[in-house]
């Protein structure tokens, strides 16, 4: 029963004292001075040899950010962040950007090997059929260190590279789309990201092309007191299709670290983007010390008619999660989907959900959210479904379930529904349940130990979402799990 076994492993994995990615890579780093001001932004821009327009864009975002307030409406509590006490740029020290993997610091390659993300293509190819290949962009602190399978992708016309590279190689695409889904004045963290983003992935799939393999980015925060501000931009041109996976981990540290990413997706006519995340940032210890602050803005724009954007996420990490992957359903007949499993344990706080903004005619959306709270954690689902005046025939179905394990955790559901069109039809279902001692006893009476029993019940609870995951996602998750169990025996 692979699914159940997988859940057992996952439950083990989320045990905050068992975080298996908490190691640190010792490597010489180059950093910008601590703090944030226009000079730092110029420093980052200069490090990346950016054109003038990019620097101006950043500075404009920074000036707007200075006028903004940190949002406080989410159901999360944390001490005020001193934005001048952080490093905004940290990169492995090298004279130049590595041109091939042979030039990448072996310590970094080892790090990704330990994480189970092979970067050497020949290693990746061993025994893997072409259709199951996954191209990886590896981001280490502030910079992308390697992108694999570029050549194969280029043959299909797909551009997959770091965003820094895209600024140089494909400025027309970056200029045309960057900030058009998440404007630089969108919100406090998105503006901060726009000013200081350091790297991330860029994808462009040309008209009519079905991307020949899964694309994936693996984010790793290593350096301490460093924020990670990655920026991802994915454009699916008319009639194209792409599936993208994102994974992330960080070392175990006593202080909190900030991760404020922005992800923008653009789907033109009849295009489809599947975006899946396995979020496994360090959650802090059982007492709530340390862990990542994950303040992320993810938004997809179904800009073309009949376009489709699907967000799938499995969230197990971070001390605090503040993210709402959303869809703007602009094109007539477009469709947005959000499938989420959010697991919180220890002292983790999650305020997450989605926004489905229906602007076009006959647009549809579907939200399936499963929150699982254990330990002393707080897990909030916050979701908005809205229909614009012109969104006739808009349809939404929302199902939002919470499961509590133990007596010290909390689950909250905060749905917002706004409809300005009389023909729109929105449905909302929500349940909260608890794994009862009776249920546990019943399952254990049949021979499953406590951990297996919890896993079985949790597995049943998240089944609807698990079934939605692409096969590749399971492979990715399994990779993460297998390394998490490495060294745990004996």
């Amino acid at each position: 029963m692979p699914a159940v076994q997988e859940t057992i492993d996952r439950v083990k994995e989320i045990d905050v004292d068992q975080y298996k990615y908490g190691f640190e890579t010792i490597i010489e780093m180059e950093k910008a001075p601590k703090g944030l001001n226009e000079d730092i932004i110029r420093f980052i821009s200069a490090k990346k040899n950016e054109p003038e327009w990019m620097l101006e864009w950043r500075l404009d975002a920074y000036r707007r950010w200075l006028t903004m307030q940190e949002p406080d409406w989410a159901r999360v509590n944390y001490p005020k962040i001193d934005f001048n006490d952080l490093y905004y740029y940290a990169a492995p020290k090298s004279n130049e950007a590595p041109k091939s993997l042979d030039e990448v610091d072996p310590e970094i390659l080892k790090t990704y090997e330990k994480l189970g993300i092979p970067l050497r293509e020949q290693e990746m190819l061993a025994g893997i059929a072409p259709e199951n290949r996954v191209a990886v962009d590896a981001v280490f602190d502030s910079v992308s260190v390697a992108t694999t399978f570029k050549k194969e992708l280029a043959e299909a016309g797909v551009i997959f590279c770091s965003i820094s590279e895209a600024v140089h190689e494909h400025p027309e695409l970056v200029k045309k789309y960057l900030g058009t889904v998440v404007p630089k004045s969108d919100n406090f963290y998105a503006s901060l990201n726009s000013a200081v983003f350091t790297d991330g992935s860029f994808v462009y799939v040309p008209p009519g092309v079905r991307c020949p393999m899964e694309l994936s980015t693996y984010f790793r925060i290593n350096e301490k007191e460093t924020g990670q501000f990655e920026r991802t931009l994915i454009i699916a041109d008319k009639g194209s299709y792409v599936s993208y996976l994102e994974g992330c981990t960080a070392p175990q540290r006593d202080e909190n670290q900030l991760h404020a990413a922005v992800v923008e997706l653009v789907a033109l006519d009849d295009a489809e983007i599947k975006y899946s995340t396995v979020q496994n940032w360090y959650p802090g210890d059982a007492q709530g010390k340390g862990g990542i602050y994950n303040f992320v803005t993810k938004r997809g724009d179904c800009r073309g008619k009949n376009s489709i954007i699907t967000w799938t996420q499995v969230e197990t990490g971070s001390a605090i999660t503040w993210k709402y992957p959303s869809c703007i359903l602009r094109g007539d007949g477009s469709r947005g989907e959000f499938y989420s499993i959010a697991v919180s344990n220890g002292r983790q706080q999650i305020d997450s959900g989605t926004k489905m903004i229906h602007l076009g005619k006959n647009t549809t959306s579907r939200i399936i959210s499963k929150g699982i709270s254990a330990g002393h954690s707080e897990n909030t689902y916050r979701g908005l479904v809205s229909a614009h005046r012109k969104a006739s025939g808009a349809r939404n179905f929302t199902n939002c379930d919470s499961l509590l394990i133990g007596n010290n955790c909390g689950a909250h559901t905060v749905p917002y529904i706004e409809s300005k069109n009389a023909s729109a039809r929105f449905e909302h279902e929500a349940t909260t349940s608890k794994i009862s001692d009776e249920q546990l006893f019943y399952v254990m009476q049949r021979g499953l130990d406590e951990e297996e029993a919890v896993a079985l019940i949790v597995n049943g609870f998240v089944k609807d979402v698990l079934q939605k995951l692409p096969m590749e996602f399971a492979v990715e998750a399994q990779k993460l799990i297998s390394i998490s169990l490495e060294g745990s025996v004996g």
């Binding site: 029963m1 159940v4 349940s433 009862s436 001692d437 009776e438 249920q439 006893f441 019943y442 399952v443 254990m444 009476q445 049949r446 021979g447 499953l448 130990d449 406590e450 297996e452 029993a453 079985l456 019940i457 597995n459 049943g460 609870f461 998240v462 089944k463 609807d464």
Partner: protein
Amino acid sequence: MLEIKNLVVEIEGNRILNGLDLTINNGEIAAIMGPNGSGKSTLSYVIAGKDEYEVLDGEIILDGQNVLEMDPAERAVAGVFLAFQYPLEIPGVATMTFLKAALNAQRKARGEAELTTPDFIKRVNEAAQKLAIPKEMLKRALNVGFSGGEKKRMEILQMALLEPRFCILDETDSGLDIDALRIAAEGVNALRSPDRSFLVITHYQRLLNYIVPDSVHVMAGGKIVKSGGKELALELEANGYADYKAQEAA
């Protein structure tokens, strides 16, 4: 063989079992009857290892092993099976998935190889057919939306698959119509064997027409107050529990 000696049990400070003694031999079917609140269900939960009961004194020995030192899963592996009076619903977990997880967990704990999927499916289908459980039901989430009778038959199906040494039937007859009762009883009778014993808990003699016991024990005030052969059940049916309640009060 199961031996219970001087079992004293409390829940939240209330004494429920008060020095209970009971021995059930291999191959024996023992019936326990008694009025409401006499501690029958508590006895079944304590044997199976439910958490909230505090065992103050006594012992439960199954085949020479001290059951009280084991957690519920270990007891299951040692061969204790409880057919629940109110089986629990497990949403999202297909019955087939649950059965396989339970069977393989027990096999693994005993150091046996997991069953192959075809072998497993064959076993389940055979057992289900005997209990008139449609295949369709095996695909549904365990006990979710099942009728009372379906839930009870599902308990017997689990019992048949797990092949326990010691089976407890906690008011398996409650909520069953006469046809369902007969099917369930036939399922139990098919499992009778020289190395398997049963503890059948019931209010009514009716069930014992179908599952004929070797011994009948009357429970009152947290202990066994009278033991006899199957004729004792008929006597109780005729006279009721009034005598024993009076005894309890005295």
